[in-house]
């Protein structure tokens, strides 16, 4: 494994770099889309169930099928990297809309009533009170989506853009396990790293959750 890395590190590095982009950009896109839709599901309760059901349907479509249908819908080429990005963004969106809605519902209570009584306008109440209080639940969803994306990117190797998945198909074609092991280890390490990063970011963003422990 070490000799394999010594001989092939330029390719491995470029696959890793592609993997990072392909997995993290969709998390960002999906999260940005999920925020308004999740918010809408909370404000219009009649939309909650349809939105959650739609997310469930998107989430249950297997990744390769999703990647393969996107060219028919968007008119992209079958091997375009855009297919993977759009597919993973859809997964993230499907997972996070429900998380956003449930997180916002879970913080309704005395704090939001206090904000309302203090004369906070709806938008300020959302960004100043509800979203910060919902951060722990939001981040739990974000962690699941990030880790899932990182493990799914490799499926893209079947349609031309797979990040570390290129090592899997390459190794399989040559009947050679080293690249596959390297790919799996790097992919899991990347997932662990991003997970820890999100935990630390959440800690930094929610100092009030730790006041009890310090006193």
């Amino acid at each position: 494994m070490i000799t394999y890395l010594q001989n092939n590190y330029p390719e491995v590095l470029s696959d890793l770099r592609q993997h990072v982009w392909l997995s993290l950009v969709p998390v960002l896109i999906g999260a940005l889309l999920a925020l308004p839709v999740g918010f809408l599901a909370v404000r219009r309760r009649s939309l909650y169930q349809p939105i959650v059901n739609l997310g469930g349907i998107i989430y249950s479509v297997p990744s390769l099928a999703l990647f393969a249908v996107i060219p028919a819908v968007l008119g992209t080429g079958i091997v375009s990297p855009l297919n993977v990005v759009v597919g993973l963004s859809l997964y993230t969106f499907a997972l996070l809309t429900r998380t956003v809605a449930d997180a916002l519902i879970s913080v309704q209570g005395q704090a939001t009533q206090a904000a309302f009584a203090m004369g906070f306008r709806p938008l300020r109440q959302l960004f100043g009170v509800e979203l910060p209080m919902a951060l722990p639940v939001l981040f739990a969803g974000l962690r699941v989506a990030t880790v899932a994306n990182i493990s799914l990117v490799s499926v893209g190797a079947l349609i031309g853009t797979g990040g570390l998945g290129n090592l899997f198909t390459g190794g399989f074609q040559l009947g050679f396990v080293e690249p596959i092991v390297v790919g799996i280890v790097l992919s899991m390490a990347l997932a662990a790293l991003c997970d820890v990063g999100l935990v630390l970011a959440l800690r930094a963003m929610t100092p009030w959750t730790r006041t009890g422990a310090r006193a």
């Binding site: 479509v61 099928a65 028919a72 997972l95 493990s151 490799s154 399989f172 899991m188």
Partner: protein, 248 residues
């Protein structure tokens, strides 16, 4: 005069060609579907046989919880495609390495959700069961298990989806099932075949998910069912969402 076919007809050609719908044909869609279903069910049943007893035991005794949590985190970050190709490359292009890979992927969600389900049961209900003189096995099967059912079924459902999806990409390693349409279509550059495979796989996954939701309704006691969402009565949702919970 030449007519260029519209793109839509190109997409649907394979799927709506009657020749692909006979049972037992060389490129039969129903055959692929049945194959896919058989592999998926075998893998999920095997995983359940392994994961359910261990999950119940860990949850009931609360020993080895670190095992359940660690396994859950590990299982989620393991790239499924890599695992399938690793086992096939190591042991040869047979069916059993793929089935083993599918089982390895399906065990963590079932085990973790079973453990979480048993641990989520209200302690006072368990104490009441003990106080009524139930034996440990009765406490587990008559009190803890029924109340843990929603989470356990949730684990089985996510395992089912995971296996359906992974069996699709396993076609790359000469595995049968609906994935063949996608992989063969990709290698021959026939988009209508790819599209047919994608549609069939997606429909299968959605149907399986709905079917298991129906089974969940039959199996879960009405008393512990998640409170239904009614107009304006939406309370704090309980932490029993299979796909999103379970992180620590």
């Amino acid at each position: 005069m030449t007519l260029t076919p519209t793109p839509m007809i190109n997409y649907l050609g394979y799927l709506f060609d009657g020749a692909h719908w006979h049972l037992g044909g060389d490129s039969s869609i129903p055959d692929r579907l049945l194959q896919h279903l058989a592999y998926t069910l075998v893998a999920v049943v095997l995983s359940a046989l392994i994961a359910l007893p261990i999950g119940l035991l860990i949850g009931h005794t609360n020993r080895g919880a670190f095992l359940a949590i660690g396994l859950g985190n590990l299982g989620r970050s393991l790239p499924t495609f890599g695992l399938v190709l690793l086992l096939v490359t190591e042991f040869g292009v047979y069916q059993w390495p793929v089935i083993v890979a599918l089982v390895v992927l399906a065990v963590p969600p079932i085990l973790v959700q079973t453990y979480a389900g048993i641990r989520s049961v209200d302690r006072s209900a368990v104490d009441a069961a003990i106080g009524m003189g139930m034996r440990p096995a009765q406490v587990l099967f008559k009190a803890e298990l029924p109340m843990a059912m929603p989470l356990i079924i949730g684990g089985l459902r996510s395992a089912l989806l995971q296996v359906t999806a992974t069996a699709t990409i396993a076609a790359y390693a000469s595995f049968g099932g609906l994935g063949r349409l996608l992989i063969d279509g990709l290698s021959r550059n026939e988009y209508d075949q790819i599209f047919a495979g994608a549609v069939m796989v997606a429909v299968l996954a959605i149907c399986l998910d709905y079917l298991s939701a129906g089974i969940e309704r039959l199996v879960v006691s009405p008393g512990v069912r998640e409170p239904r969402v009614r107009r304006g009565l939406l309370r704090r949702p309980r932490a029993s969402r299979p796909a999103t919970t379970g992180t620590t």
